[in-house]
Symmetry: none
Subunit: 413 residues, 2 copies
């Protein structure tokens, strides 16, 4: 039978809209992967009365209850005290935890604050769950076969406890009754996708199809309850992949930079990036991946015209004649970057991020992307027409996609 | 008296983590502005039983209840049916609404779908709230002086109904009775802050103090109900600013790069950045601000040792003797960057982002930050010890903070 979960986020900062609650969303996604069904999210105040009322409202057939927030050292952090009392336990002092905390602060060259004493007290009736990313540990209470997991609200601390302590344990006791695939596309709109692929799913009514558009492109999710002998899901996936081809960059929810990394590594190729309007974002995204130093050698943020001339040898006359946002300049940028970096491929980008700097013929959002390889150098013009922050993000994704497509073509030759 | 609100989001797509619920967050922010206190967020399934159970759990002293989601034309959209039954009403057909819907589709050149018939039925015991952005209208039920507002889940439709119909009405019945300030600090932990400032607030018990730690630092929020003749909030703010001094980078929720921009512009200074471990993130953050080309001239992502030598003139012997992550190298990087860029100030950073590349003496998370000005060049060592993505983020914030402090010192001289 499918097991149920409820999630409680504790924190005035969420209710007052000072913090967006992403914890419940993340936990729900992880639980879905292991076949646990989330039936309620609660967000409540840091108040004993609210916490107790919500715990009393938990349904009796809910197996797992996740509670985040309110475990810090300040006086409004009351979760530990309240849940310990609720489960009729007692807070006891742990000398080893205090020593550990002292070491934690010492390692960081920071003073040991008095207020942190409370962080060494834990309930005597809960299992303590270690937290490798912070000073507040997690806890697990069990009552009437229901498991209550209490974690800090800081997202990366909560994730550490979930990933290292809770999810491995839950995986042993749950099983997946639903199968799904996520297909990541880019460079095509949701409306265009519908026109291209909905005919496939008309043939497979048991397959559920959803679209998730974002700055990175549109993710398509197809899913089906597992039915023995029914391979509609796999069949529709096969047809989908064949129809969309290279519009798909990942079938495993990877970032486009991970796909690029794989191709570069497999072919022992190196890259460099010359950025104007994206201001370093493309290099930043490439270097998010562990091991990127193997293929990414250097990047230059040539924000001023002088920088374009000095580093990339863009000709002063080209800048004067065509302007910094032009096909001619981006071609010289890409060539210059490849030459100075001695890498196999270079990516260059120049555009008008906005809000200022646009003209009638060169509006805000106009972007030129250039690619230079040993064999050729070419450029593509795109107009995003969004605000500054979005223009940077959309342009970085489109530039990385052009790089991916170039690498795929190169692999085929 | 402060009025209370509860918010219910209905939708399996939120519970299954296919959609992040931003509606409850947005509604809470709007309510805070008019002095209404949100005490609970619920997210529940598109099921009659869950909806009824949650409505039964609404607290009797809650004045406003906001319900979003489940008003569309598809078969899992059951909200209207369920709430109408809950409030003992009856769905009645409105010819004028059907005509309006037909016009809506015609205006958009779209066919009128059969399934939309149900969209012309509304409860006979609710006020109907018009929706200028979609085909599902809002509703308002009143019971025991409690007001229940039902809206579609599509964010821009919900916002339209809130902004045009509900908030103007609520504003007449509520008044802002709360004042607050947000103070952004960085380079100090929550625990250390507590040690430094809680003594102030012991003197002003009516002032509510909260801490919001994130990668960028800890935001402190102080707030108070407006009480005539009581200036405790302003008084405690004054003391807080004086105790924390330069640990505060903003009192207006600005990003640290906006603060840096202001100082650079005011003093007509230019900067350049040489990044290794942060891979372009610092340049990216600086160029998020409109007009950054006035002070940010260039950045180089010197990911390889060769790039450090080639662009920044870091000596081969320095790299050999001390390694790329060392005080000596970051000093040469900062000096080299300032020389080649001809900017007033340069920021340089080198570190081990991880997960690989760490050693016992130079662990993952070790970062050297260098600053070079016309008068001096110096470096600071920090150990973050997080994962790769977090190390990049924490180091970028710390580096930007060192830059800010240098600029402030420079201004004073």
């Amino acid at each position: 039978m499918e097991q149920k979960a409820e999630i409680i986020a504790i924190g005035d900062e969420v209710l007052s809209a000072h913090t967006l609650n992403t914890n419940s969303h993340w936990i729900s996604g992880e639980l879905r992967k292991i076949g646990v069904k989330v039936v309620t999210h609660y967000t409540i105040a840091d108040e004993e009365e609210s916490i107790v009322r919500t715990l009393n409202n938990i349904q009796s057939d809910t197996k797992y209850i996740f509670i985040t927030g309110g475990l810090g050292p300040t006086r409004d952090d009351i979760t530990k005290k309240v849940v310990t009392k609720y489960f009729k336990g007692k807070l006891v002092f742990h000398q080893n935890i205090l020593n550990e905390l002292k070491q934690y602060f010492k390692d960081r060259g920071r003073e040991f604050p008095d207020t942190i004493d409370g962080q060494a007290y834990y309930p005597d009736n809960a299992e303590i769950l270690s937290n490798q990313k912070g000073s507040a540990k997690g806890m697990c209470f069990t009552k009437n076969a229901q498991e209550y997991y209490i974690m800090p609200g800081v997202p990366f601390e909560m994730k550490n406890i979930m990933e290292c302590q809770i999810l491995p344990k839950l995986r042993k006791h749950t099983k997946i009754g639903y199968q799904e695939f996520t297909i990541s596309t880019t460079g095509i709109s949701e409306a265009e996708l519908i026109g291209k692929i909905e005919f496939i799913f008309a043939k497979y009514p048991s397959v559920v199809l959803s679209y998730y558009p974002s700055i990175e492109g549109v993710k398509i999710r197809i899913g089906q309850k597992i039915i023995k002998g029914n391979d509609d899901l796999l069949q529709s996936k096969k047809e989908l992949l064949s129809v969309l081809g290279n519009l798909i960059y990942s079938t495993k929810s990877e970032d486009i930079t991970e796909i690029i990394a794989k191709i570069l590594l497999a072919n022992q190729l190196t890259i460099s990036v010359a950025e104007s309007c994206t201001g370093g974002l493309i290099s930043h995204r490439i270097t998010q991946n562990a091991g990127s130093s193997k293929y990414f050698k250097e990047g230059i943020v040539v924000y001023s015209n002088q920088a374009k001339e000095k580093y990339l040898n863009v000709k002063h006359s080209t800048l004067e004649k065509y302007g910094a946002v032009s096909k001619e300049v981006v071609i010289e940028m890409a060539k210059g970057m490849r030459k100075i970096s001695k890498t196999d491929i270079s990516l260059a980008i120049t555009g008008i991020a906005g809000p200022d700097g646009g003209t009638k013929t060169k509006p805000v959002g106009l972007v030129w992307i250039g690619i230079s390889t040993k064999k050729k150098t070419y450029a593509k013009k795109i107009n995003f027409n969004k605000d500054r922050i979005l223009n940077k993000q959309y342009s970085s994704q489109r530039a990385l996609d052009l790089l991916r497509l170039e690498l795929l073509r190169d692999e085929q030759n």
